[in-house]
Symmetry: C2
Subunit: 220 residues, 2 copies
C-alpha cells in the first residue's frame, strides 16, 4: 500500500511508518451514498471519521422544523462531532448528512486513543479539526445574531454557486442554509431579481451580477 489514504492528510503524511501502519491497519474504509445520515441527535458515536472524498453537511434542526447549516466537512478533514461524542459520551446535538457520495475511513475508538497517545501528528490533526469547527460555529453565531438576512443570503449564493454562477437549490434549501423561513428567502430573492442581480427559475438560481452581490455580501 504505497499510496495510502494517510498521505491525503498533511498532518499524517509526515508520520513515522509505524504510526501510519497503526492507522491503516485498524481503519475501516467506508463509502456512503449521497443523502446518508452519518450521525443524528440521540445516536452515540462508535468511531472516529476521516473524510477522504465528498462532503458532509452538519446542521441543526429546530422543533418547528426549521434548519440551519453549521458547516461542511470535505475531503481531508476530520469530523469532530464524532470525536466529541467519542470522548464525552454525550449525544449529538446536530446531524450530519452526506451531500455527495462520501469515501471515508472510520477509526475505532481504541485505535483512535492509541493514535492520539502515540502520534503528535494525529493529535495535531484532531485538535486543529476542533479549532476549525469552533471557529465555523462561532461564525454562524455572529451571523445569525448580528447580520442582515440580505447580506447573508448574498454570501451564501456566492459560496454555493458553481463556476457558471448557477445554484441548484430550492428556496427551502437556501432557507435551511441560513436558518430562516422559506417565504422570507423567496421575498429576498425576488428583491435581488428585481435589482437584476440574479435570475430565478424553479429549483435553480443564476447569478447575473456577481459584483453587486459581492458588494452586498461584504457590506458592514
Amino acid at each position: 500500500m504505497t499510496d495510502s489514504w494517510v498521505d491525503r492528510f498533511s498532518d499524517l503524511a509526515a508520520l513515522p511508518a509505524e504510526d501510519k501502519k497503526l492507522l491503516t491497519e485498524r481503519a475501516v474504509s467506508v463509502s456512503l451514498p449521497a443523502g446518508t445520515t452519518v450521525f443524528a441527535p440521540g445516536v452515540a458515536a462508535e468511531s472516529f471519521l476521516l473524510v477522504l472524498d465528498g462532503t458532509i453537511r452538519v446542521q441543526q434542526v429546530s422543533s418547528g422544523g426549521r434548519e440551519i447549516v453549521l458547516y461542511r466537512v470535505t475531503g481531508g478533514e476530520s469530523c469532530i462531532m464524532t470525536t466529541s461524542c467519542l470522548f464525552s459520551g454525550e449525544d449529538y446535538v446536530a446531524e450530519g448528512v452526506t451531500e455527495t457520495e462520501v469515501d471515508a475511513v472510520a477509526i475505532p475508538k481504541a485505535a483512535f486513543e492509541e493514535a492520539i497517545a502515540r502520534s503528535s501528528g494525529f493529535r495535531q490533526l484532531v485538535f486543529s479539526g476542533y479549532s476549525d469547527r469552533i471557529s465555523d460555529i462561532m461564525h454562524v453565531v455572529q451571523e445569525v445574531a448580528f447580520e442582515r438576512l440580505d447580506k447573508r443570503l448574498a454570501q451564501r449564493l456566492l459560496a454555493l454557486s458553481d463556476p457558471d454562477g448557477v445554484i441548484k437549490a430550492t428556496h427551502q434549501d437556501l432557507a435551511a442554509e441560513l436558518g430562516s423561513a422559506r417565504e422570507v428567502v423567496s421575498r429576498q430573492l425576488k428583491e435581488l431579481q428585481r435589482r437584476g442581480w440574479i435570475s430565478i427559475a424553479r429549483g435553480q438560481i443564476a447569478l447575473t451580477d456577481a459584483d453587486q452581490l459581492k458588494s452586498l455580501a461584504g457590506s458592514d
Copy 2:
C-alpha cells in the same frame, strides 16, 4: 504539596504521581481581578488555562457594538479557546472576560503538549472541555436562530438569579446575554412585569413568580 490544584479536576486527581508532578512543576498560578480581558480577537494565546475559582465569560462582539454571551468557564474547567489557538495558531474570534476574581493555572505550550502526549487523563480533560464547549455554542445557535426572545429571556433570568430570586444586571447586560438590543429587552421586561412575574428596579430585577417564568422558559 499534598493538596495540589490537580486534585480539583476529577480527570487529573487519579493521575499517576509523575504526571501530576509534570503539571504542578510547570504550571504557573495566576490570579486575575474581575473585569480582566483574558483573551480577545487579534491576540494569540501562549499558554493553556485551567480555571480553579471564579468565572470567565466568553462572548462575541459585533461591529455594531452588540454582544452575545457564548458560555462561561467556571472552577474546575479548562478554557478551550486558549487550547484552540495554541494548536491552530488562529486568532481568537471571541473574547474572554473575568466576571469575578479568577484563580487559574497557566500551562505553557511545551508542558501542555508533553502532558497531552503522556497523560490519558489530561487528554480526557482537554477533549471533554472541547466537547462541552461545542455543545454550548451549538445550543446558542439553536436559541438565537429558532427560539422566541421572551422564552430566552425567561431562561436567562432564571439562570442568572441568585437564591433570593434577584438578578443584579442592567437591561443592557441582559441584552448582551441574549445577543439582542437594550430597548427590546426593556420592552420584554416591562411585559413580564405587567404580568406580575418580575419586579424591576434600576440595575436589578426580582423574580416574583418563578413558576410562570419556568413555564415560559420551557414552552415549546
